[in-house]
Symmetry: C2
Subunit: 478 residues, 2 copies
């Protein structure tokens, strides 16, 4: 039995072994190149092959998810060497496991015959995950090769928005009629011989495939065999529509602790199912994409993507950041006269701006999270704003006084100290107002408040902080 | 059948209805207070009661998760009013659903008898989730009231680290012997009458409770009834130990698409099970806590917590930020002489520092994520660093030139433009080095790289950026 601790250690070990074998293989190659002696050729190429065979054996033993992990951990060149060694019939299941960015690098390395061979090993819902990364002509060839039902399924799955339920659902559904007894149902299952992964319930439909209810396996195995499916089934199951938002479905899975759930069309006809493993992947990806976009990355990035690709991924946010920094710079230049007279202002102003940015980001993060959980809306915006203003006032007076004292001590200028305290407090209040309002306004305009809130709030507290501090100083110190 | 779309809408609607009823109730209360007429008393108190009865009825209809959602969305005062209306026998299931911060506010409102009554409704693993928030004396009374097996279970569950498998596991295990046939197994289950939530497999143990394998229900219902459990069971199931890290278990659940998994002690004796719903909650909480700590919040915060509590939660990071800002300020003050001579430096320096911080955060986020997924370690640190340096060099030359030109245009000073370009490039290179090294070094010292990386990198790029820019300017412009 696989022990988790062992599994984890051996995963790290597997990676180390693969790298060691790759390095050995490379060493031999270099030797062959350098010496260029025909006499040695045979020996070298034997050693060479032996390493590759060993590596291939190692890869064959690993779970597809573990091969995916190794591929993601290797720089591009080594990654493609390993990819070439993976058995063709395992390509499909491994492509499904790797991240989008890494998948693109692997698919770019495959020709159309290889891709079509992969497609043959997969179910339609799995194909729908890979197909968008296929070259256009291969995708067309693939569609032509499918039977009508599967072609329609694939086309409709490709038609759904990436974050709709339709894009996540699969078609591994086992249906049953409501008028049969559990005994008959069990006999039917025994004839089937096996059930799809994650099957925790059967879907009860009428002759038109209209969903009537669900029959959990754990009821099927404990209830009296003479009862009918209709008597035992749950008719209040949570159902989804293909066009529902995946994020809402994920919340429902968490809220109601689901393992699988039926997906139906407007006429309640069963069209697919959603499983908890897909939902878990979705939640993980959403959380990561929020984190990445908050840090100013446009999308998930392959760790070893080319410099050029990375530059493009990060360009957009750097450019926005540059513009906001430029605005802040112009605010400062308004007060160049004041800075010339009291040069200490130049040294103190980044503190005011920096603390405001930090505090504003704390507020925004709270609000973004509350919005994501559906707990923040217009009905409580006012009480949230009041609370954040209270927090800012308190922080401003305490930290502002500390900094005011330090400024007074450093520059022996009481008025400068008071300006510092006042500016800190005002900028923290600005940060509170903006920290609450920016995500709310973005949501109102239908934008994702996680994306860019942080940049906007920092822009406000930078320019605002410089303006407040230098403005107060100009009025009271000169 | 509950349609998801309807469910979601009615959830928002429920919240609105609860608020409306609360407001009505308050209006009546105010009227009573203001008029203070004994004649009206009876009428008012009737209307008053009627609203509360309606509200209570509304709450009774809702799923515990939905009541939890409403409680979390209400400011403290209204939250406690609603909480008082929740039926005592539902307190337990609802407390399990609310977030830690909100749970504390609810428990603070309950006396020890109410808490002990709640404890009676719950399983040991559920108790283990709530008990840490109980007052000490109530917890002791609770332990005294349990039988030996449950007391031992509760004490051991409380003993595990919050992020260990032992703290997440439950004890809803159904076991079976390997020498019986499937027919006997099914008869046994039918006698049991019901199975715990999420049961997708039975655990096969010997007479000493040592785990032999697992029997998935979906095999039980399709295999020949004459086969023995031993012939049908899977003996390569993934198992966990109570002291395993929950984060590793979560990765295994995602990697191997598990719904439930057995937890065994060192002797392979079955001690509990882990379910996918608990794991999903854990993943969600981890992702959120990473996001919160990256934004400088110490822990999860109740949206409506008191100002004082919020201030304490945010204090630590603000203080650290203040210190780093102070250091940056001292760096600037080193060059006050230069700024006095060329005051444009004061306006331009925040741009250099800001872009460096943004770029460094992009790099750190990539690395932190790679570390979390186990894809980054010493074997590829060098190639990652080279890539990031390449990205920075490219960004520095492009954006640095743009800003250099702008500075030249604004101040008509070529040397200033060149200093700007050079400083931008150098600070971006510094950001790349620090962005890769800081999370790696933090991991080496056993710290969570998600916590504080962002503050550290910004501190480096701020102080570094000011020093590089003002230093270059002092050397080349004066």
């Amino acid at each position: 039995m696989a022990d988790n601790q062992e599994t984890k250690e051996s995963l790290q070990e597997s990676l180390q072994q693969v790298i060691a074998l790759l390095n050995k293989h490379r060493l031999v190659e270099e030797l062959v190149h350098k010496q260029d002696m025909p006499k040695h050729d045979l020996v070298e190429s034997l050693v060479h092959k032996q390493n590759l065979v060993e590596l291939q054996k190692k890869l064959d033993e690993l779970h597809p998810a573990d091969v995916a992990y190794i591929l993601e951990s290797l720089p591009l060149e080594q990654r493609l060497e390993v990819w070439d060694l993976v058995k063709a019939e395992r390509d499909g299941e491994i492509l499904l496991e790797v991240s989008d960015a890494v998948r693109q690098t692997l698919i770019a390395d495959m020709d159309s015959d290889e891709l079509l061979a992969v497609a043959e090993q997969l179910d339609t819902d799995e194909l729908a995950d890979l197909a968008p990364d296929f070259p256009k002509d291969v995708l067309q060839e693939l569609l032509d090769s499918l039977d009508i039902q599967n072609r329609e399924r694939l086309q409709s799955a490709l038609g759904y928005d990436e974050d709709a339920v339709g894009a996540l659902m699969d078609f591994d559904i086992v249906t049953i009629r409501e008028d049969v007894t559990l005994e008959v149902a069990l006999r039917y299952l025994r004839r089937l011989g096996r059930l799809p992964d994650h099957t925790d319930k059967l879907f009860v439909v009428d002759r038109n495939e209209i969903l009537q209810g669900v029959l959990p396996l754990k009821r099927l195995v404990v209830k009296d065999l003479d009862l009918t499916v209709a008597e035992v089934m749950a008719d209040d199951a949570v159902v989804f529509h293909p066009e529902d938002k995946a994020a809402d479905a994920a919340k429902a899975f968490e809220r109601y602790d689901l393992v699988t759930a039926p997906v139906v069309d407007q006429q309640r006809k069963l069209v697919g199912r959603l499983t908890v493993d897909t939902v878990m992947d979705f939640i993980r990806e959403e959380a990561e994409s929020d984190m990445l976009s908050m840090a100013g990355l446009r999308e998930e990035e392959d760790l070893f993507s080319s410099v050029w690709k990375s530059v493009r991924n990060r360009w957009a946010w750097l450019a926005i950041n540059l513009m906001t920094a430029f605005v802040a710079s112009r605010v400062i230049s308004l007060f160049e006269g004041s800075i010339e007279k009291v040069v200490a202002l130049a040294a103190l102003m980044p503190i005011v701006a920096g603390i405001g940015g930090n505090s504003g980001n704390q507020t925004t993060t709270m609000i973004v999270r509350g919005l994501a959980l559906g707990q923040v809306s217009s009905h409580n915006a006012r009480s949230l704003l009041l609370k954040e203003l209270g927090v800012s006032l308190m922080n401003g007076m305490v930290w502002g006084s500390v900094l005011g004292l330090i400024a007074y001590a450093l520059y022996n200028n009481l008025a400068l100290g008071l300006v510092m305290t006042g500016a800190m407090t005002l900028n923290l209040l600005l940060a509170a107002v903006m920290g609450v309002m920016i995500p709310l306004v973005m949501t109102k305009f239908g934008r994702d408040p996680a994306v860019g809130s942080s940049v906007l709030i920092t822009a406000m507290t930078d320019s605002g902080g410089f303006f407040i501090f230098l403005g107060l100083a100009t009025v009271f110190l000169l």
